[in-house]
């Protein structure tokens, strides 16, 4: 699936939920599906600075594609991370670097991006795109 297709499929999944609690339960579930980072990569270097919860992110580059593994100490954050990883993992550096991430808005989690500093989601997205840019450069 492309990045766009992955996002659209998440949006569709969420369209079945009307209550906030079902949405959150689904997010938490996706945290459980997140490909977990190897504990040896849970280093300060791979830590993404959010204010309240911590996120570790690792990238593997194989066969022209980037595969992300991650973890967080907060389950909602982990779910959000899981969704973003689902969207971007296994894509090419170029696609990741240029990705337009719109699903978060559409499923009604915009506030997670607008909180200036209290959430690491934006920093995480930035970090993933940085990996995209970096591996793109390597390719050339």
């Amino acid at each position: 699936m492309t990045i766009k297709e992955q996002q659209d499929s998440i949006i569709e999944e969420f369209s079945f939920f009307s209550g906030w609690d079902e949405k959150y339960e689904h997010i938490i579930q996706m945290g459980k599906d997140l490909p977990l980072i190897d504990p040896k990569y849970k280093t300060d270097e791979n830590l993404i600075r959010g204010c309240q919860s911590r996120v570790w992110l690792h990238a593997d580059y194989k066969g022209g594609k980037i595969y992300f593994t991650a973890d967080s100490d907060a389950v909602i954050t982990k779910g959000l991370v899981g969704m973003v990883v689902r969207v971007l993992s296994g894509q090419t550096p170029k696609d990741i670097a240029g990705a337009d991430i719109y699903f978060i808005d559409e499923i009604g989690l915009k506030s997670h991006l607008s909180i200036t500093r209290s959430n690491g989601l934006l920093s995480m997205l930035k970090q993933m795109k940085m990996y995209g840019v970096a591996y793109q450069a390597k390719e050339i």
Binding site: W20, D21, Y24, E25, I28, C51, Q52, S53, R54, D73, A74, V75, I76, T77
Partner: protein, 415 residues
């Protein structure tokens, strides 16, 4: 207060009080707001908002030195506000009350000016393990500059000061003690009378961080005999941007000025500047005139409700919340002091406080999560943070019930 019981002459009409706070009538996510983030900032009564509005629509003007009527009215109102605050904390004189930007600004003012005058290499400054960053970092900065040493009074597992350790730390090397009256993270009320008495026996002045105290309990600076008291307007029903430093006249006179500028000078030449008398010496530049006047209105509001009645109701509310929360399985309190006020911090099982806070928010309940600007304290408890519910006299038991229900729901979702 020696006569506090006698003064508790009436009980609060909480429903009537709630009507004074417009924001308490609003909804979030379609449900009535339950605001338990009062330690971060309180909501404001209409009386305060009307004072702001009246100022700006009727007599806004710069204060001091003004020959015209508006300026005289603004100056008068500004100085009357100072008198109200002096009376509220029973300062001996109005000019011991300095308008600042907030608690942080007040503590920085003392750390810098007292520190410059009185701290020397090898001297010690004593704070506690439960201090807010605002009562840690300013002392770190001045200690580094003066090569003085910052010492920390430890706490026990309940979040109470270890007074036995305090006794050991209290040596003539200590040049100032800065402790919080009430902990913003734990709700602990510290034994400040004992601290002050023991400090004064060695002629050591004491600064109290009153940010979480003045809105919850009667406080009389003369009776406490405290040397400095810092607090914020926005945490006591006043506007943001205004705070207070109370200081004993003898200290304030000895300390050098803090910032330089208009109003704090007596005479300026390029060669030499002489400084104005108290309180103006420490109020450089145009002050937050509307903030000061509106803080005066907030003090009026508190006085009218009655600080003893407020204290009584809040104590009842906190006891109720404590009991109800304690009944939730796997919930544990962070901070379990005998004397407490204002806030209850807790964690449920292994749930991350941020997750809990988010699910409470979605149920229209506003709490704060995280380290509450007390990172060293979180490290002592070895936790990433807490969920903190903090109370005001406009909160109700029904709201506490909502909180408990919401915590239970969050637990079901997150565990």
């Amino acid at each position: 207060m020696t006569n506090s019981d006698a003064i508790t002459d009436h009980v609060l009409d909480v429903e009537k009080i709630r009507k004074d706070f417009p924001i308490l009538q609003t909804k979030v996510y379609g449900k009535p707001l339950v605001y338990f983030d009062n330690a971060a900032t309180t909501q404001k009564p209409l009386q305060v908002l009307q004072t702001l509005d009246k100022y700006y629509t009727e007599y806004n003007s710069n204060v001091h030195r003004g020959v015209h009527l508006l300026s005289q009215q603004a100056t008068e109102a500004y100085e009357v506000a100072r008198k109200k605050i002096a009376a509220f904390i029973n300062a001996k004189s109005d000019h011991e009350v300095i308008f600042t930007k907030g608690t942080t600004n007040s503590i920085n003012l003392v750390a810098y000016t007292y520190g410059r005058k009185f701290l020397k290499e090898g001297d010690e400054v004593l704070i506690s393990a439960m201090e807010h960053h605002s009562n840690i970092v300013p002392w770190q900065i001045i200690c580094e500059e003066k090569k003085a040493i910052l010492k920390v009074i430890p706490i026990n597992e309940k979040g109470e000061l270890r007074m036995d350790e305090f006794d050991k730390l209290l040596t003539p090397k200590v040049k100032i003690i800065a402790v919080t009256y009430v902990s913003n993270s734990l709700g602990t009320v510290n034994p400040v009378r004992e601290i002050i008495a023991k400090a004064h026996a060695l002629n050591i002045p004491v600064l109290l961080d009153g940010a979480q105290a003045v809105q919850h309990m009667p406080l009389d600076v003369q009776e406490l005999d405290v040397d400095f008291l810092a607090f914020s307007g926005h945490k006591m029903y006043g506007p943001t941007g205004i705070g207070i430093l109370y200081g004993k006249e003898k200290w304030l006179n000895e300390m050098p000025p803090y910032e330089g500028g208009g109003d704090m000078i007596s005479h300026v030449t390029f060669a030499k500047t002489t400084y104005n008398e108290l309180p103006f010496k420490f109020e450089a530049g145009t002050p937050d005139i509307s903030g000061a006047i509106a803080l005066g209105a907030a003090v009026d509001y508190i006085q009218q409700a009655g600080i003893h009645a407020i204290q009584q109701w809040e104590e009842e509310l906190i006891a109720y919340a404590y009991d109800k929360l304690a009944a939730i399985p796997s919930l544990r309190f962070i901070g379990d002091a005998k004397h407490r006020a204002g806030a209850i911090s807790f964690l449920a099982g292994n749930i991350h406080p941020f997750d809990m806070g988010e699910i409470l928010d979605k149920q229209s309940i506003a709490v704060r999560t995280g380290h509450h600007c007390t990172q060293p304290l979180m490290e002592i408890f070895n936790i990433p943070g807490t969920v903190r519910a903090s109370f005001s006299f406009y909160n109700t038991k029904a709201e506490v019930d909502e909180l408990v229900r919401a915590v239970e729901k969050a637990k079901r979702m997150l565990e």
